[in-house]
Symmetry: C2
Subunit: 341 residues, 2 copies
DNA sequence: CTGTTAGCGCGTTCAG
DNA sequence: CTGAACGCGCTAACAG
């Protein structure tokens, strides 16, 4: 039987409300009363029940970030940035995993869970635009992800085409002629498609031919990058550079190249995408596309807060027009590419 | 004004309880009634309020993992492993950050938040044993962390001394004679101290002298590892190997060594600790201590579930005796060390 | 198989 | 500045 507020009130000889006021630091409470209450709290080992407070207050001062996987550094870094901002406004961030392991049935459950938070930043990777369109929720939601989603929701993403174009153009400028697109796809959707598009565009702008044999689809993880290189080498497909679609892939690529006895950047140049914290520390340092992490975090929370502020009034009349924000990208040149010719 | 269960009940011409039963899939409900309820739910856009359910049910089927920082790969990987297990038993994992940014005042708030969960896995890094001893909570808590904590709580950790001894002994066996302990300390507490102890012990077992100039305290992050090497080089302290106290530190160390023109493993050998997913993919592959991640996750949840199961009865009589579990470690040999002489 | 009664623990009314 | 009622949305019990 847990200790409740009224237990404390009885012990301190005051009313429940007084206890509540003392604990929430709300109204002014007499110094002596206050001490009595705190003593009783300490004495009984009373612990505030946030669930009850949330039910009553209708808000939780907590925002959730839902990511596909916990063990992906990109999302860890994102979470840390968001948490820093939310802390500043006295709120909390909790991170949940949407999983790649759970089926559609769980989507419903996930949605129910969203109600535990004032707002949700939903990182969509696996879901299709159709899945998202089917989402029915009154919870403030901002989408994060590279695939264009239904415009009923706010969405923040990076300029993938431009980033991929920059990366590829840089490789072309430093003398590369056969650039493998690791993580690419000739038919897919989402991140994979838009970055492949940027890779194509850079080739077109240079008037260079495009060889689809250089597009290597793979799992977007460390092992995937390494396997992609193994495959290229096994096939005997010639290449003098790799544009890896994420820094994680690039890390796997570097391992694969080393394994194959190919030197970076002398034999093969490499560019990644994401500018993870660790990319600077690889040997050699990874040239990569920086998606403007801080700006993205700012946008995401701005859009979310817009929705949260509006929520109490209800939707009628003042409906917020959803925005799709695309952040600018830039290239960070390090040691996996050669100086421009 | 959100749609509530009784709105749905009215619309469907049934009682609230029936709606509840349909939605929770609890008792059997007539097929037609069931359809009417679901139709009303869909019609009104009803969304379950989990907060209310939690308040009423007294549990949330959710476990929290509290980590020092979101952007630390070690914790991301830990979270993923825990989530996998909890999903299997139909529960959820949420991750919160304890922050290094928030002061002691927030400790209280953190404690209140713990009540939102059935149990909490608390990763302690910054807190001292005294801080922990002061924790007053009835929430099931299992501590994770390398510093020995008051035995009022369950705790899971790795065999740090043995891991550090293994790492150092391996370096000695492969010919190293001056092994820098990056992340070490001659006076600290916690992880830093126990791993330094293992480093010492290996030296003692080999009868080799210990030079405290080789103990380099630093921030436990990527930049810290690099800075440690810069410092050693700047001081002119000779060293032919590095035992980095975490793989993240080791990654920074490798960057620092490259910067200084030192080859790995020819000029300097390196061993890390943690066996992160990415460590296998560094070039060269990082030799490191594997703390038996899976076993640790198993232990942590076993201890937590023991507490959760007991909770409903109250503590009297059946008090669970807290356990301190230390998991076995092993050495993973890769390219940053030379073959044994 | 469905409805009624009661209350989870807190906070927003209003009086005093 | 403090106290007493009522209700947030849901579900465990028991009726019917």
């Amino acid at each position: 039987m847990p200790v409740t507020m009224s237990d404390v009130a009885r012990a301190a000889g005051v009313s429940v409300m007084t206890v509540s006021n003392v604990l929430a630091g709300r109204k002014r409470v007499g110094e002596e009363t206050r001490r009595r209450v705190l003593a009783a709290v300490d004495d009984l080992g009373y612990e505030l029940n946030l669930t009850a407070r949330h039910l009553r207050a209708g808000r939780t001062d907590t925002v959730a970030l839902v990511v596909p996987r916990f063990d992906h550094p990109y999302f860890g870094e994102l979470a840390a940035r968001l948490a820093r901002r939310l802390d500043r406004s006295g709120r909390h961030l909790v991170v949940e995993q949407s999983g790649a392991s759970r089926e559609g049935e769980l989507e419903a459950l996930t949605l129910a869970r969203l109600h535990l938070y004032d707002g949700v930043l939903l990182s969509v990777v696996g879901m299709t635009p159709d899945d998202v369109a089917r989402l029915r929720t009154t919870v403030p939601v901002v989408l994060l992800g590279e695939q264009d989603m239904p415009d009923r929701f706010d969405q923040v993403r990076m300029d993938n085409v431009e980033g991929a174009r920059l990366a590829t153009a840089h490789l072309l400028a430093t003398g590369a002629r056969r650039i493998a697109a690791v993580g690419g796809s000739t038919s897919g959707r989402g991140m994979t498609m838009v970055r492949t598009l940027g890779w194509r565009r850079a080739h077109e702008e240079s008037g260079l031919p495009i060889d689809d044999a250089l597009v290597v689809p793979c799992d977007v993880d460390l092992a995937g990058g390494r396997r992609a290189i193994r495959q290229l080498v096994a096939e005997g497909t010639p290449f003098d550079a790799v544009f890896a679609f994420t820094d994680t892939l690039a890390t796997g690529v570097l391992a694969g190249l080393a394994e194959a006895g190919l030197r970076v950047p002398d034999d093969v140049q490499v560019v990644g995408f994401d500018n993870l914290d660790s990319s600077e520390f690889l040997v050699p340092g990874l040239t990569t596309v920086d998606p403007g992490h801080e700006a993205m975090a700012d946008h995401a929370l701005r859009l979310l807060d817009r929705l949260i502020d509006r929520a109490p009034d209800g939707d009628r009349g003042t409906a917020v027009v959803p925005e799709h924000v695309t952040g600018p990208v830039s290239l960070v040149v390090r040691g996996t590419t050669r100086p421009a010719a």
